[in-house]
Assembly symmetry: C2
Amino acid sequence: MPSSRTASALAHPNIALIKYWGNRDDDLRLPANGSISMTLDALETRTTVSYDPALKADELLLNGETAPAGVLRRVQGHLDWIRSRAGLTSPARVDSRSNFPSGAGIASSASAFAALTVAACAAAGLDLTLEELSRLARRGSGSACRSIHGGFVEWHAGEDDATSFAELLAPSDHWELADVIALVSHQPKLVGSTEGHIRAASSPLQAGRLADTPRRLRLCRKAVLARDFAGLANVAELDSNMMHSVMITSAPPLAYWSPETLRLMHAVVDWRSEGLQVFYTVDAGPNVHCLCPAGDQAEVSARLMDLPGVHQVVTAPVGGAARLVPTVG
Amino acid sequence: MPSSRTASALAHPNIALIKYWGNRDDDLRLPANGSISMTLDALETRTTVSYDPALKADELLLNGETAPAGVLRRVQGHLDWIRSRAGLTSPARVDSRSNFPSGAGIASSASAFAALTVAACAAAGLDLTLEELSRLARRGSGSACRSIHGGFVEWHAGEDDATSFAELLAPSDHWELADVIALVSHQPKLVGSTEGHIRAASSPLQAGRLADTPRRLRLCRKAVLARDFAGLANVAELDSNMMHSVMITSAPPLAYWSPETLRLMHAVVDWRSEGLQVFYTVDAGPNVHCLCPAGDQAEVSARLMDLPGVHQVVTAPVGGAARLVPTVG
């Protein structure tokens, strides 16, 4: 088997500052609104893709174990787009490993589909632009399109497959922030993001959230580019609250916050009012992402560990782009 | 002093099933949306008003103590409307007592201004219709207009002072429900309802909430009239979540839920999914109102008392209208 049929890639998850919730097209994962994120170092998914004509069917290992059928089907669909573009028909062996828990409010599907896209395209001999990789990653898992880039990233909602992709807003060395993630529960989510996105439209508040998104994107973009911490804190907390407002008013409602989530959110707001630079944002899970200047991460981490219900704190500085890495073993 | 210059009235608070949040006119307390409530027995405010030309100025006792200047001014303004309507100029002595804590998510201002309105009008010799009393009570404290009636009550938003008042939807014996109130905090609210109503318009979600209100009012009215518990549970929990969504996305945000509030909300939803008829609704405070058939109130109360953070449980069946009572002492 020629070496060009195997490739490995690494990608990081990202934390959304202006969040993606709801699709205008569920199949193509065209989002209902644009979003802005920060890519996270330290947390990563490493994926090796090998196209092998000797295989009977695609095989997927997740952290060393055979993946559930539903996950395999989703990855197969993703590989099919890439194979059809490359004119390949071989089944593939995919080995994907993440160094953080999946399904608990840290976007494991973002780093997973970004790494899969980069590895699968390289192994297939496709030499794509970042824009093309981002569009492909989006079709696998919406927010994966942001993890193609490092630093601060904006995903343009777009109007169709060609216009919906992420671009670099500012590189990883633009602003030394850290995401101090308080893990308050290791329980898997009751309702995954794919189903949640579909449910967004059932909330009477989603239309108002979408109508206001250009304003929040503008405020966030401006705060990131000017390194305006207070401005970013205000718009990111508002945006997180707006997404959870849509969630708790969907039919049926989605309640991702636990009592501990709320306790941490209140604590973060109190700390900021006392002068510590920190703000919260919460994804589709109970964990609380606390963003602060990198110099304050030890202080924020220590305070979080002192609160009841916090099992673990994981700290991530601003991370780099998805990239090819040597295949090991 | 002729006896006609003194009168006493009793009124109950009410719990909103479709909530009032935001005004189209703050001075006249014309609400941004219509609302539906259940009047609560057991909890009550008793108020005696005596017009006395010998007084130098209005006097107000709240639970036996001289009221703060801000509260006195608000009551004076209310008495002035009534005096000008009755052609009176006498200062008044007002003695108001409630049997439940104020400012903690049980609407003490509703029962207080309903009782004040009924007593002050009677003492002034005004013989008003329920519609006129409701309109007057509304100008004192919006939701007080609902406490003029017992049972199940709808406040028509209206377009001006003449058209904004509450009417009986169904009498107190229509449906034997109870409100089992879990008190999780005795701390006074950081931001009172009057300021909160002003802030509602700053939320990007308030317009969507208002646009959807006719639908929720229709669902609630239908569920109350048909004694459809499941239907009432769904629309009341949605409506409560929608109001708190507006609160947490206002500028600056209003965070009335405590971690205990959220724990209780989740517990109530779990209990209902297990077959117990109960739903939650939360006003502008951390306490959780758990509504259930009167026959289940002991079970709901016992379960609430078993949860951490619950200081006290107060149970109220469906209550009657505001009414004149004999003056004591």
